[in-house]
C-alpha cells in the first residue's frame, strides 16, 4: 500500500485582471502517492504550470489546501516553512533563465546548503561534488558559468540543484520543453534513473504528450483550470474517454501514423480562462455537446476502469 505523500484538496487560484477574474485553477483535487510520477498535461491556459507554482508556493493559492504528509503546507510559516523547502522542490522549464548568469556552477549548487545550513561549511564542497556524480556531470563543470554550457547541461544543473536538499517530491515544470530534441532524451533518462536511485516522486507537468506518456505512471488532463480526465498512463492513451482527450491525442503527429488516420480537428482557439461560462469548460469546442453541457458542469466520476475518472456528461463510462 503506497503512502500518500501529497494531497491537494479543491485548489483554486484566481488572478484579478483589470475588472475581470482569471480562473487559472478552478477546483483541482488529486493525490500523489510515494514513488509515483503524476503527469499533468494540457495546452496553454489550462493551469498546469500554475498548479506547480502554487504547490511550491511561489504563488499563493486563492483557496483550497495542500497536505504534505498530512500537514497543510499553506499554514506553515517561518522556520518550519524553510524546512519544508527540503521536502518539495522544483525543476524549472527554462534552463537559460533559471541559473544566475553571474555565478559559477559550484556557487549555484552550493546555495541550497548555504541557505539551509544542513551541513557544516567545510563539507559543502564534498556534497556538491556528490551531486554532480548523481547526475553524471563532469566535475570540471563546477568552475564554469552557465553561458558556457549548452541547454542540456544547464538543465542537468537545474536537476542537481533540485536534488541538493534530498526532497521527497520534485515538481518538474516542463523540464524538457525548452531543450533541443536530442537532448530531451538525455534529460528524460536522467530523471528516470534518479527516480529509481533515490526513490523520488514526481509531478511532471508538460504539454508534450509523448514525453508524458513515457515517464508517467498516471496522467491528469487539464483544460481551463479543471481536470477533465485522469487515469493510468497506458489506459489514457489506449482508451481516452473525454472528447478533449480524444482530440488532444489525435492531434499529436506520430511517426507511426498511417495515411488513413482520421484526425479530430477542434474548431476555434484555445479559449482564455478569464470569466469562464457556466457548464462544462469544453462545451464550446466539443462536437458532442448537448444543452446540459452548457448549463451544468460535469463532475469527475468513476468509470468502470481502475483509477480512470472523467468529467463529462456523455463520455462512455460503462465498465
Amino acid at each position: 500500500m503506497s503512502k500518500v505523500l501529497l494531497e491537494v484538496k479543491d485548489l483554486k487560484k484566481y488572478f484579478d485582471v483589470k475588472e475581470e477574474q482569471l480562473r487559472a485553477i478552478d477546483g483541482v483535487s488529486f493525490t500523489i502517492n510515494e514513488g509515483e510520477t503524476m503527469g499533468l498535461v494540457g495546452e496553454s491556459g489550462c493551469g498546469k504550470s500554475t498548479v506547480g507554482n502554487v504547490l511550491i508556493q511561489l504563488l499563493q493559492a486563492t483557496s483550497g489546501s495542500v497536505l504534505f504528509n498530512g500537514k497543510d503546507i499553506f499554514q506553515v510559516k517561518g522556520e518550519e516553512r524553510k524546512v519544508l523547502c527540503r521536502d518539495i522542490q522544483i525543476i524549472f522549464q527554462d534552463p537559460y533563465s533559471s541559473l544566475n548568469p553571474k555565478k559559477t556552477i559550484r556557487k549555484i549548487l552550493s546555495e541550497a546548503y548555504q541557505v539551509q545550513k544542513i551541513y557544516p561549511r567545510k563539507e559543502i564542497r564534498k556534497h556538491v561534488e556528490e551531486l554532480c556524480k548523481d547526475v553524471n556531470l563532469p566535475l570540471d563543470i563546477l568552475s564554469k558559468y552557465p553561458h558556457e554550457l549548452d541547454g542540456g547541461k544547464r538543465q542537468t544543473v537545474g536537476i542537481a540543484r533540485a536534488l541538493s536538499l534530498n526532497p521527497k517530491i520534485i515538481i518538474c515544470d516542463e523540464p524538457v520543453s525548452s531543450l533541443d530534441v536530442s537532448i530531451q532524451a538525455q534529460i528524460i533518462n536522467i530523471l528516470m534513473d534518479l527516480r529509481e536511485k533515490k526513490n523520488l516522486t514526481y509531478l511532471f507537468i508538460s504539454h508534450d504528450l509523448s514525453v508524458v506518456k513515457h515517464i508517467s505512471t498516471n496522467i491528469k488532463v487539464m483544460y481551463l483550470g479543471k481536470i477533465m480526465e485522469e487515469s493510468l498512463s497506458e489506459d489514457l492513451f489506449e482508451n481516452p474517454l473525454h472528447p478533449y482527450t480524444k482530440a488532444l491525442l489525435s492531434a499529436v503527429p506520430s511517426i507511426e501514423s498511417t495515411s488513413d488516420k482520421k484526425r479530430i480537428i477542434l474548431e476555434g482557439d484555445v479559449p482564455s480562462p478569464i470569466n469562464p461560462p457556466p457548464g462544462c469548460r469544453f462545451c464550446k469546442r466539443c462536437w458532442i455537446a448537448q444543452e446540459v453541457c452548457f448549463k451544468e458542469e460535469p463532475k469527475l466520476e468513476e468509470t468502470g476502469q481502475l483509477e480512470h475518472r472523467v468529467a463529462c456528461h456523455f463520455a462512455d463510462k460503462g465498465g
Binding site: 496553454s44 530534441v181 530531451q184 509523448s210 513515457h214 489525435s250 492531434a251 503527429p253 477542434l266 482557439d269
Partner: protein, 326 residues
Amino acid sequence: MNNLLEIKDLHVEFRTMEGTVYALKGVNLAVKKGEALGLVGETGAGKSTTAFSVMGLLPKNSARIPKGSILWGDKDLLDEKNEKYIRKVRGDRIAMVFQNPLTSLNPVFTIGEQVAMVFRRHQGMDEKRAYEAAGKMLQMVGIMPERMSDYPHQFSGGMRQRVGIAAAIACKPDLLIADEPTTALDVTIQAQVLELMKELQEQVETSLIMITHNLGIVKELCQNVAVMYAGVIIESGSVDEVFRNPSHPYTLGLMGSLPDIKKKTDRLTPISGFMPNPMIKPKGCAFAPRCPKCMEICTQKEPGDMELNREHIVACFLAREGKSNE
C-alpha cells in the same frame, strides 16, 4: 530533371568575432513541382540557414557564400547578374512562413493591410482590389472578414500563424518554405495549421519545404525527407523509405531518441555527445565522433552521397557496405 529548386554543393560561412562559423558545408537539395519535402535536424544543423540562403535573408555583413549554387529553373539565385530576376522570384514565386508568429508580423498594421501589401507589391494591384484579394486569402486560411481590421496583438499564436501563411501564399507561390511554423503552437492548434497547410498544398499546388525537428509532422505532411547534420544532408529520400529503413547512424539515433506517442519503449536512447563546433572543419565525416559504428575511414575521408536505391540516398561509408542496420 524537372526540379523546381535545386541547391548544389552550397557552402555558407559566417564571419564572427570569435572566428569563422562554417554553417553549411556542401548542401545538395532538390524540390520538384508539387512536392512536400521535410527538412529535419536539430538546432544548429543548418536548416534555417539553408532556408535563408534561398530567400536571400542571410545577414549581409557576416555571411559569405564561397561555393555553390541555388538554381531556380535555369537561373542561379546566387549570381549577382540575375539581380532583377532574383528580386522578382523571392517573395513572389518563393515565399516563407517563419517560426515565431509574434515577431514576423508588423504590429502597427492591421492584418488586412499586411496581406494586401503583398498583393500591391507583387501583383501591382491598387489598394481596393488588393484589400479584397486579401480578404479572400484570409478566408481561405479560416479568418473571417470581420477581423481584417484587427491588429496582430489581438490574435492568438495560431491565428497569427495563419495570417503569416495567408501572406505567404497570397501570390500563389511555386514554393513555400515553412521554418518550424508550428513549434510555438499548442498541439490542437498545430493540428489545425498542419491540416490547413495540407489542404492549401493540394488546392494551390505549391511545393513545400517543411523545416522541423518533429518526425511525426514529416510523416504526416511530406512525401520526401532530407536529414541534416552539421551543415550537410546525411540522408534523404522518400518518407516511406527513409523511415522504414533508416540507414545513417544519425538518423537511427534520432529516431531512437524521440519519444513517440504510438511507440512502446522502456528507455530512450539519446545520441551521446554534442553537435560539433561549427568553427572547425573536420576531416572526414562530421558525425564520426558520436557515431557508435564509426570506422577508420570515417575519420579520414568525407563520405559522399551514395544511392541505396532510387528513393534513398545516404552519406555514410557503413551504409555503402549495407551493414548499418545491424
